[in-house]
Subunit: 338 residues, 2 copies
């Protein structure tokens, strides 16, 4: 079954997915927001900026023409930063099919509104069948055919099964899941914990500290998630702890790298300018903190991250405060019953 697919966004993840889908036997169009980038990709058949050394198959069409890219496709993949998802959903709207399957891979919540990506896309394109693809998948590794696993989440079972068929291959295992909000909350909020793990590394703390932050971090994320309708298993899965693990332990992660710089004493602005790419975790820390207040959910790690990032709190003091909290029971999980 050959599908006709458009990938919107020629960053590392969009390009890696385009290459993989082409190798899976599908017809792929890769859209770049920059005319010059699209031309360069077409000419050089390599993304020297994002995936150096990985060949872009010659039957991938690289274009800056949105009409060419989006018209009459079986699947449209949105592989752009979260803060431009609404705008891009709007831009493609005139060209897409009715009940278009849209696979979003951006992780994050909208600033101020805290809408998830699927909510934003559904607001802009109400009849779209939105799928979320999320899991422990560094683009660099997927582009080198390293065995990887991922979750596709959708309210539309047929759509997620179709996406599973289209994306899956011997090195890329796709699991379906219908807990869309859980997958999105897990994928977004893990960036906050990755920042914290980086801060811990930057402070010179150890594997014990980082494992504690990751475990208790995912527990507080799932506490919030359950409050807004997610299922706890999702946070124990690939789009929850799986994604968190890969983000916290790899130097590929810009969230972790920004955290390391902050732990080493940089302020937020200098850390961000040094990392030089979008650091989703910073904006998400604010969103997560405000959601925890709104829903009355205890999220002590997120709260400390917020204080360090936005209130100038010393990161070491934040860790000390986390360690000295009241003695408690591990299963003090009020989210189960509420």
């Amino acid at each position: 079954m050959k599908s006709n697919i458009c990938v919107i966004g020629a960053g590392s993840w969009g390009t890696a997915l385009a290459i993989m889908l082409s190798n899976n036997g599908h017809q792929v169009t890769l859209w770049s927001w920059l005319q010059a980038e699209a031309e360069l990709l077409n000419k050089e058949r390599e993304s020297k900026e994002f995936l150096p050394g990985v060949k872009i198959p010659k039957d991938i069409i690289c274009t800056h023409d949105l009409k060419v890219a989006a018209r009459n496709k079986d699947i449209i993949v949105l592989a752009i930063p979260s803060h431009v998802v609404r705008q891009n959903a709007n831009n493609i709207k005139p060209f897409i099919n009715p009940n278009q399957i849209i696979v979003n891979v951006a992780k994050g919540l909208e600033e101020d509104t805290y809408y998830t990506m699927s909510e934003i896309i559904e607001q802009e394109i109400p009849d779209a069948r939105v799928c979320i693809l999320s899991g422990p998948t560094h683009a660099e590794e997927v582009s080198r055919n390293i065995p990887s696993t991922i979750v596709v989440a959708s309210k539309f079972d047929e759509a997620s099964k179709y996406v599973q068929d289209v994306f899956m291959n011997d090195n890329f295992r796709v699991y379906t899941n219908n807990d869309v909000v859980g997958v999105e909350i897990g994928g977004s909020l893990k960036n906050v914990i990755a920042l914290c793990a980086g801060i811990s590394d930057g402070l010179g703390f150890g594997d014990n500290t980082k494992a504690a932050l990751m475990t208790r971090g995912m527990i507080e994320i799932s506490r919030l998630g359950l409050k807004i309708g997610a299922r706890s298993e999702t946070f124990s899965g690939l789009a929850g702890i799986g994604d968190l693990i890969v983000t916290c332990t790899s130097m590929h992660s810009r969230n972790r790298r920004a955290g390391i710089l902050i732990g080493e004493g940089h302020d937020l602005d200098s850390a961000l300018s040094e990392v030089h790419m979008v650091v989703e975790g910073v904006k998400t820390a604010k969103a997560a903190y405000e959601l925890s207040v709104k829903y009355g959910v205890s999220m002590p790690i997120t709260e400390q991250a917020y204080s360090v990032l936005f209130k100038g709190k010393n990161p070491k003091d934040a860790v000390i405060e986390l360690m000295r909290r009241d003695k408690t029971n591990e299963n003090n999980i009020d989210y189960v019953s509420k």
Copy 2:
């Protein structure tokens, strides 16, 4: 509140805990199974073998005399390999108090019987109040006061709260939990997954692969755990995924190191002789596999680990088989309803 504590076992973890408890203000006796080791520790006030550079406070009594060590103690900590827990429980029995609080830190299941450590201790000392201490805590880091977290699990709430009070300090945060079997299954079976993570690293796979093995590995462990009475939250906690994270990502872990050697092409015997220490995960892989058969629980990663370790299966083929399994839903978790 000053307690009188005996630590049985002067390996890295026993020694680190003895030092920490002494620094917490308690009277500590550290027992070694070797007369010469006890004398050396008393003289040098340092475990050059296990914790080089870390001072043993002078008020810790290091001894090989079990009567001196075990008699009239508030808490006895068993910090010995899992395969000698039964024998040591028996050895201390003549000297201990009625309703003795025993804190076990060994992780593993008994060979052939597959009893957990708490079951073994209760069989040998029926009136003991057994507590299990487990979590992401490399001894080397705890001995250097790196912030760490851990779980104490017991059927006896008063005992676990007392242990929490005695062990907790500003760099060592203790959570109580009454899911004893969950904490023990998590702590034991994670060593199998750590071996697999090491094998994946040794094969040259990436962070994506390892995160997938860890996530899906803990899911299958919790599937078994739920079948034998554990709670799912425990596997999402410090003694579950937390401990797995630290074991899989650190070179401190001998299970992971043995796995790396196997992935690089060593056979089991040569890997074990090179690592030169007890590798609990090897025996546990056999136990876990046989438990999965006994209880009819699907544990595909454990099954492949068993085939690689004991049936000479090529590790690369094992990974390929895992990736090529039938398409499935992530929440295909039959353990929830059964």
